[in-house]
């Protein structure tokens, strides 16, 4: 068991090193000069070159890369070219919003996708199954930004039930902040709840047709016990996998939702950083988001051990 865990952890370190290298290379390879962006469209090449030297961006790439890795080993993500603050501080300021948004979105997706997936599996072939499947397919086809714009147009702007954008005043209460996050979380949750619904349905259908489920029915167990105790626990592994993917996706895909809803979170930060070529912020944010993906996957791997004795036995 310990060897299983250590193997997973060492893989995590290797992946993070590769990610750090790849984001460095990609951010340097794409054309665009942060100094020119900072100075604006009216700047000359000489102005931009002067600023670039001041910012240390004219140092050889290998030197910049070594500095980046050395900082990373000390958990220092560098200094933002545009924000005048450390990347660590910039991310910390915005982390609460993005984590809250992703968490609320995930909670909504889990609370709708899994129960509805179970229901349509149990009612397979009925009108309810067909209607919900069609609705799910439609919802999965809608782009997140379009869902966001519709939510802004009607529940927010037209009916006034929710704020149009933002995260509230600096002194807003947690209730006000939550109120601001409801619509963005719905936009984020919708495609993921469809994914969870379909995965749950497929997984449950496989299990519900198994011999031991037939035996459980023959023994006279209640439908609730059969579905929730015997079938669901055996169907849980793929559902856990997709939940982990959805959780990681939530963190990474807040970019579009935060841009549409004007939320000053990590997603918005990385979009601005890419447009401005703020290399430290691009690198730091992508490393953090990748780290979240990797840690979430590790956590899901550990959950497999907890819920499935077959995997636990294999790990020993």
């Amino acid at each position: 068991m310990l060897r299983f865990v250590l193997a997973r952890l060492s893989g995590l370190v290797i992946v993070m090193f590769l990610v750090a290298t790849i984001v460095f290379v990609i951010s340097r390879v794409i054309p665009g000069d942060p100094a020119a962006v900072m100075l604006g469209a009216a700047a000359t090449a000489e102005d931009a070159a002067r600023l670039k030297a001041q910012l240390g961006l004219d140092a050889p790439l290998l030197q910049q890369y070594i500095r980046w890795i050395a900082q990373l080993l000390q958990f220092d993500l560098g200094q933002s070219i545009f924000l005048g603050q450390s990347v660590n501080a910039a991310l910390s300021e915005r982390a609460e919003l993005t984590v809250a948004l992703a968490s609320l979105g995930l909670a909504m997706a889990l609370a709708t996708g899994i129960p509805v997936g179970i229901a349509v599996a149990v009612w397979r072939g009925t009108l309810v199954d067909r209607m919900l499947n069609s609705t799910a397919l439609l919802a999965a086809s809608l782009p997140v930004f379009w869902i966001g714009l519709i939510l802004i147009r009607y529940p927010a702007a037209k009916f006034g039930w929710f704020p149009v954008s933002g995260y509230g005043a600096p002194d807003a209460s947690w209730r006000e902040k939550l109120h601001h996050l409801v619509l963005p979380a719905v936009a984020l949750a919708l495609p993921n709840s469809v994914l969870l619904l379909r995965t749950t349905r497929t997984s449950m259908l496989d299990v519900l047709s198994a011999d031991y489920v037939r035996t459980a029915r023959a023994k006279g167990l209640s439908p609730w016990t059969i579905v929730m105790k015997h079938a669901l626990l055996n169907a849980i592994v793929p559902i856990l996998t997709v939940s982990g993917v959805a959780a990681a996706y939530m963190v990474g895909s807040t970019t579009v939702t935060e841009t549409v809803f004007g939320l000053p979170g990590i997603g918005n930060l990385v979009v601005s950083a890419v447009l401005r070529r703020d290399y430290p912020v691009i690198q730091g944010t992508l490393v953090v988001i990748s780290g979240i993906y990797v840690i979430l996957n590790f956590f899901i791997d550990m959950l497999y051990l907890a819920v499935d004795p077959r995997i636990r036995a294999g790990a020993r």
Binding site: P31, G32, A42, A45, S165, G166, A169, G262
Partner: protein
């Protein structure tokens, strides 16, 4: 007012809905397409601050076909400013087309060189193109969809140029890449950009020989030196006319038009001044 809160909202549609719903009191940089919705609102009034900035087609005077004066004059002669600006902004209330950079009541208003401006003269353009000895080289316009009015202007300009046989092609990239790529004279013949309003003509970036486009001729240097050495305002205005005439005759850049933006202001706000970079002094609610 005890507090002014400036809230960055990247998405223009979200800014619009925010001011229409009352969440914001002022929404800046709204698209001209939203004008009718803002006008129809009971809560919000539209403002179009003037003067505005300029949309420019900057040409590479250093190398390639655009290094040739007759070629640049051909480009200038064929461009249809009305179509370009209408495509870029959609509503004539949001742009103005005039040969000089400035309109009344600026002291720098002038018609000098106006006969070269917005001619839409295909015959004259073809004649100038032949004169330039154009051999069918690519006319690469670097542009970006990040600013949709820049992109649309470039699209229509490219079509105008194709009418006289210039092989115009758009090279599209994000704005940060445009700012870098334009420093390399080997890879473009033109780019479309926007220039913020400057009340003092000496601040017009195209006059700087180091700025991409690299307009630098003895006549221009002499006229600019004269302009910059004069202190008397009336004399400066007269000398500026000479610089403007050269700008239009030598056509290093084509000033396509002046553009304005839309600001939505809550009707509860008093004292808002519809000028560029509006100050919020003395506003109340």
């Amino acid at each position: 007012m005890n507090e002014l809160r400036f809230v960055p909202v990247p998405n223009a549609n979200t800014r619009l809905e925010g001011v229409l719903s009352g969440q914001f009191d002022v929404a800046d940089a709204l698209s001209s397409e939203f004008y009718d919705r803002v006008k129809a609102s009971e809560r919000v009034a539209p403002f179009v601050p003037k003067p505005g900035g300029w949309i420019l087609l900057v040409m590479n005077t250093k190398q390639g076909p655009t290094a040739n004066l007759a070629f640049r004059q051909a480009v200038q002669a064929v461009l249809d400013h009305d179509s370009i600006m209408l495509a870029a902004f959609g509503n004539p209330d949001f742009f103005a087309i005039h040969p000089g950079l400035y309109q009344a009541p600026s002291p720098f208003v002038s018609d000098a060189g106006a006969n070269a401006f917005n001619r839409k003269d295909l015959a004259r353009a073809k004649q100038l193109l032949d004169q330039s000895g154009y051999k069918g080289e690519s006319f690469r316009i670097i542009t970006s969809q990040q600013y949709d009015f820049v992109y649309k202007a470039a699209l229509v300009a490219a079509e105008n140029l194709r009418q006289i046989g210039i092989k115009a092609e758009l090279v599209t990239m994000d704005w940060a890449s445009v700012l870098e790529k334009r420093n390399d004279p080997a890879i473009w013949e033109a780019f479309v950009t926007f220039h913020g309003f400057v009340p003092e003509p000496a601040l017009f970036t195209i006059l700087n020989p180091s700025y991409a486009g690299w307009w630098d001729t003895p006549a221009k240097r002499a006229a600019l030196d004269r302009f910059n050495s004069i202190v008397d305002p009336a004399a400066r205005a007269q000398t500026w006319a000479e610089v403007q005439r050269l700008f239009l005759e030598e056509a290093p850049t084509v000033q396509l038009g002046e553009y304005y933006s839309l600001v939505g202001v809550s009707k509860k706000v008093q004292g808002y001044q519809p000028i560029p970079l509006a100050p919020f002094w003395n506003v109340s609610k």
